[in-house]
Every structure is written in C-alpha cells, then in structure tokens.
Amino acid sequence: MAIVEISGLKKEFGEVPAVNGVDLSIRQGELLVILGPSGCGKTTLMRLIAGLEQPTEGQISIAGQDVTDRPPRAREVAMVFQSYALYPHMTVFKNIAFPLKAQGRFTKGEIEEKVRWAAGVLGIEKLLDRKPRQLSGGERQRVALCRAMVKEPSVLLLDEPLSNLDAKLRASARDELQRFQRRLGITTIFVTHDQIEAMGLGDRIAVMLAGQVRQIGTPEQIYHNSGDTFVATFLGSPGMNLLDRGDYTLGFRPEHFHPSRGQRDTNGEAEFSYRVSRVENLGADTLLYGTVDGASEETTVIARIPSTMNLPVEIGASNHFMVQSEHLRFFDKRTGKRTDPRPW
C-alpha cells in the first residue's frame, strides 16, 4: 500500500525549476532513498513532502489524504535535518517532548512515558538532562531521531542525517538506523548524495537529476540495470565505463573489466586492447586507468581488479582485456536511455 503518493510535482524558485515533474509512490514501511548530486532538487522534494515549501504544481497525499495545501503540522510527518536542529536552549528531554507538547493532546504523564520509551529505543536515557551542546555528533543524531519518531509519524523524512558524522561513525550509524527502521517499521524517506549510503540502506532508491527522478528501483536494479548513462556513471565508484560506438554507447562496470586469460565461455565476451597509463592501489582493490583501442584517447577506461589477483599487466603496453557479454550494457547515443543489446 502506498503511504505517500506524489504526482506531477513541480516547484519553481522564480524561473528556475528545482523539482520538475516528479511522480513517486512510497510503500508502507519501506525505506526509500532519494539519491542525487547536490542541486538536483532532492532536498526541495523532501521539503515539499514535509510542507515547508508549497509546490508550484502537482499533488502530495499522505496516508490517503491530500495534504498539498496543508501546513507541516497537519501532515503527520517528522523530519531530521542535516544539522539535527536541536533546540539549543532546551534539555534533551524537552527537545524530545516538544512535538508532543505542540500536539496538545497528551497529559504530562503521557508525554513523560512516551519520551522515556523513545529514549529507550535509541539508548539515550542517560542523556535526557543534558543540553545539546554537551552531546557528541552521534548522540545529537540519536536525539534528533528520537524527537522525530516520538510522535509516531506516518512518514519519517531524513535529510542527509549522517553527513555530519565522521567516516567511522557513519558506518555504525547507518547500521543502527537501518535496524531501528526495520524494528519500528516506520516509512522512511532518506535523502543523500552518498551512493554508498543509498546502496547500503535503501529498500528502493530513486535517483534524481535536475529536478527529475531518472530511475527508481532496488539497489541491485539501479546498479546492474541502470536505466540511462547518468545513473550508470553516478552509481559505483568509479562509475560505469562508457565507450562511444558510433550510433550507440557501450557500457561496462570497472569490476567486470578483466585481463583475458585465453579462456572462452559459451556466452562469449568482448575483447579489448587496453593500454594502462596509471595504477592506483586501494588496498583491497587495484584501479587501472587507461585507454582502449577503438575509442578516443580522451575516454578513460577504468578497471577494478581485486588485489588478490596477480596482475599480469604492463604499464604503457597493450594488454588483452575482456568483458563478459552479460555485463555489457547498451545505451541510445542521443537520449542516453538503455537499449537492447546489439552486436558489438
């Protein structure tokens, strides 16, 4: 069942469209990641869902009700901002209690009970008497999450909530966030520009560019069956290699680009003469940068080889590389959209 239904949504700031015709339907209990480069309109889309911005066109309905013209407080949404936006003059307890008090339908005892329950879920009972400035980044994030979930919203909106944490903490916070979301079964929309976060967290991912959703699907679909060249190159680090082949574009991922060892399988493969110009050792993997014959000199082609594999590669010389045919992707040259396989 769709809990959030967005149709034909547009938002223009002056002449500039930030969100340009988005249709999206978010299912009950899922974690949908909105992924895109900065300036693609993902935060605006989030603010439109929250009611902080009024759309120029289109409709939003939440839990079966059209909320397009309603203010945020009539929408049953909760939001965690990038900065966490904790009220600095209130204790953690008061921060968490704030949305409950604002609803005005709970007694003092009920509020106390709900706050303690929510704090228990996130393991921050001991912090309730502190002020936000006495908390670490990870603790602040939990308090913000706690304040968002305490009013049991229909939808939880998260705007890059992990970007203020340092890299190590981010991995554990991601894990924690996912377990928390699964446990409460709370429908969540998560905005990020970080594809690793998106791949790791999302039940589904919506990839945005220039105010439009370019593709929506599970992380596997998005990654392995990218709908167009933008999605193909935006996902993966590094992204998909694209080769100009006259009237179409040929694509393959760096990890599928191997040295060929003479063996052939029944599916066939594409062979390339690969001239490596630079080697980058990343520890677990090694990245090779180079060019292939039959493509222009400017097209850098990257190969990702596990470090466990002994590299029979010579820098500067031509090497035999290959991609198995099932890993080849074809895109229309003009529109960039995915097309059927062609003979290569």
């Binding site: 603010r47 929250a50 009611g51 902080l52 203010p71 945020p72 407080r73 949404v77 909760a78 939001m79 901002f81 990038q82 900065s83 936006a85 009220y87 600095p88 003059h89 704030f98 949305p99 008090k101 604002a102 609803q103 002020k131 304040r147 009013k151």
Partner: protein, 309 residues
C-alpha cells in the same frame, strides 16, 4: 624607510607593545572624560562648594541628607525609575512586534525600515523639540486631529475643552515623557532584536514547523529564548539611556507641571548649575551611579549565563 636601530624596528610586531599602545588613547580618554569628573563629583558631593565659593570644605554626608528630605528628590527618584520601567516594557513589546514584522518579506520593507530608524538618526534635543510642538497647549496638531475625529471638544469623550494640554496635566505630562522616550529608543531596540531574529538558524524554525508548533509556541518557546541574550543587551542600553537622560524632560516639561515629571538628572542640573549649588548637584547625580552600576552588572551577567546555557 628602514629604522636605524634594529632593536626598535619590530617593536610594533610585538603584541605586548602594540596592544597597550593601541589601547592608550581610549584609556586616556576615559580617564580624562569619565574618571576625573567622577572623582571630582564625589569630592564635590562631600563638600560645600558652590558656584560662588569654589573652596572645597569637607561637610560629610550633609548634602545627601538635605537632598533626600526634599520632595523633588523623592518624586524625581520615583519618576526616574517609573519612566524607565514603563518605557522599557513598552519598548520591549513594540520592538519585538516590529522586529517580527521586519523579518517578513513585504513590499515597501526598505521604506518601513528607513522610517523606523529616523527617530534614532535625529538628535534627541531636536526630536524632543518636535514633540514639544506636537504636544503644545494651543497649537497641538494632535488636539486638532482629536477634535476632527469627534473625540475632543464639548460633549465628547475627552472633555469640553478644545485642548488636551498634554504637558500641563500631571498624568498626561508623565505619559508624554514616557511616549517620547519610547519613540526615540524603539529604533535601537528593534534593530538589535532584528539582528537577533535573523541570526536564528532557519533549520531550527523549519524544525519547529515540522514539530507542529503554532506561531505562538514558536515565538515563546523557540524564538524568544534564543534571542534572550541579545534582548538583555538591548534592555541594558535602553535602561541606561532612559535612566540617565536629561534632554527629554528638560526640553519637554522642565520637570513640570510643578515638579511632577522631575527626574534626577534634570534636578541635578537645576540644583547644581542653574541653582549654583555644585555640591548638592553632585550628590544628586551620584545617586544614579549605584543603580546604573547594579543594572549593568545584573544584565551583563544574565546575558552571559544565557549564552553559556
């Protein structure tokens, strides 16, 4: 040009030298224009000095005893405190409203802002002269407007006469003084509060909206607590300005009718300069000092505590 003696060449690069050097003019200025007169007034207040006899003969606290007995003193003290508190309260409410209005976007905002700042840009004495005319017993345009509105004149709400006589009636004269103080200090308070409001992180206000807070809840539980430190600075300024102000009462009423609008700075001037009793004038002026000092310390400490919290 290279200094011949290398020992002095980098003298101004040293903070221990440069710091005191740069501060020196300000320190000298304060000692000369504030410190010295302050000590002199303490000496005057304990002596029998007058304009005619400038020898300082020590008389102890006699000046203080005699001024405390005068009815003008008690009235002046009550008025000084009363005018300050009432004006302060009105300024606080109005400045908050104005600052909230100016934080919105609307057509003609720059015009509203310019008009708002005008009273502050006008010299106090000139502004007060303007008010003197506005409140004149015969030619007051306010009277004329009230008459035209049917509020003033025979058989109307405000009485049979055609004139309010703002400055000749005890209550109205007091209200007039408060009104002019509010008029001249409102711009400063509004500008300070506007700065405070615009420094609030927009995400916090968005958060309050998503949390379901109404306008009033956002105002009283988020905005005002966040600008409380800056608000107390604004309070401190207007408190000191009103409490120690001589000009408004001097120009508007000269303490009258009788001495009903008398404030201590004006009385100190009348006693010490007009009346020639420098000793008593100094004693009256010194009465203001502990109050101002205490207020300054109190408000600055409150501001500090709120900032830390």
């Amino acid at each position: 040009m290279v200094s011949p003696n290398p020992r002095f060449r980098y003298l101004t690069d040293r903070e221990r030298v440069l710091g005191p050097l740069m501060l020196a003019p300000a320190v000298l200025y304060i000692i000369g224009l504030v410190g010295f007169p302050f000590l002199l007034s303490i000496a005057f207040s304990l002596s029998d000095v007058t304009v005619g006899d400038t020898s300082l003969d020590f008389v102890g606290l006699q000046n203080f005893r005699s001024i405390v007995r005068a009815p003008e003193f008690r009235r002046g003290l009550v008025n000084t405190v009363g005018f300050t508190l009432v004006a302060q309260l009105i300024i606080l409410v109005l400045a908050n409203i104005l600052a909230l209005v100016l934080s919105q976007n609307f057509r003609g905002k720059w015009l509203a802002r310019t008009l708002l700042i005008l009273p502050w840009a006008t010299p106090v004495a000139l502004g007060t002269l303007g008010w003197l005319w506005l409140l004149d017993s015969k030619f007051s345009p306010i009277d004329w407007v009230l008459v035209q509105l049917g509020l003033l004149g025979p058989n109307t709400l405000l009485g049979p006469g055609n004139h309010m006589n703002f400055l000749a009636r005890e209550q109205l004269a007091m209200a007039s003084v408060v009104a002019v103080q509010v008029w001249r200090l409102l711009p400063l308070a509004t500008v300070i509060l506007s700065a405070g409001l615009s420094s609030i992180d927009q995400e916090l206000l968005d958060q309050a909206q998503v949390d379901g807070a109404s306008f009033w809840r956002t105002l009283f539980q988020v905005k005002l607590p966040l600008i409380a430190p800056i608000m107390s600075i604004s309070l401190l300024f207007s408190f000191i300005f009103i409490f120690s102000d001589l000009v408004v009462v001097f120009v508007l009423t000269r303490g009258g009718p009788v001495y009903y609008t008398m404030v201590l700075p004006v009385w100190a001037y009348f006693k010490g300069i007009t009346g020639g009793s420098l000793a008593e004038g100094a004693a009256i002026a010194l009465f203001l000092f502990p109050v101002l000092m205490a207020a300054a310390i109190l408000i600055l400490r409150t501001a500090r505590r709120m900032e830390v919290a």
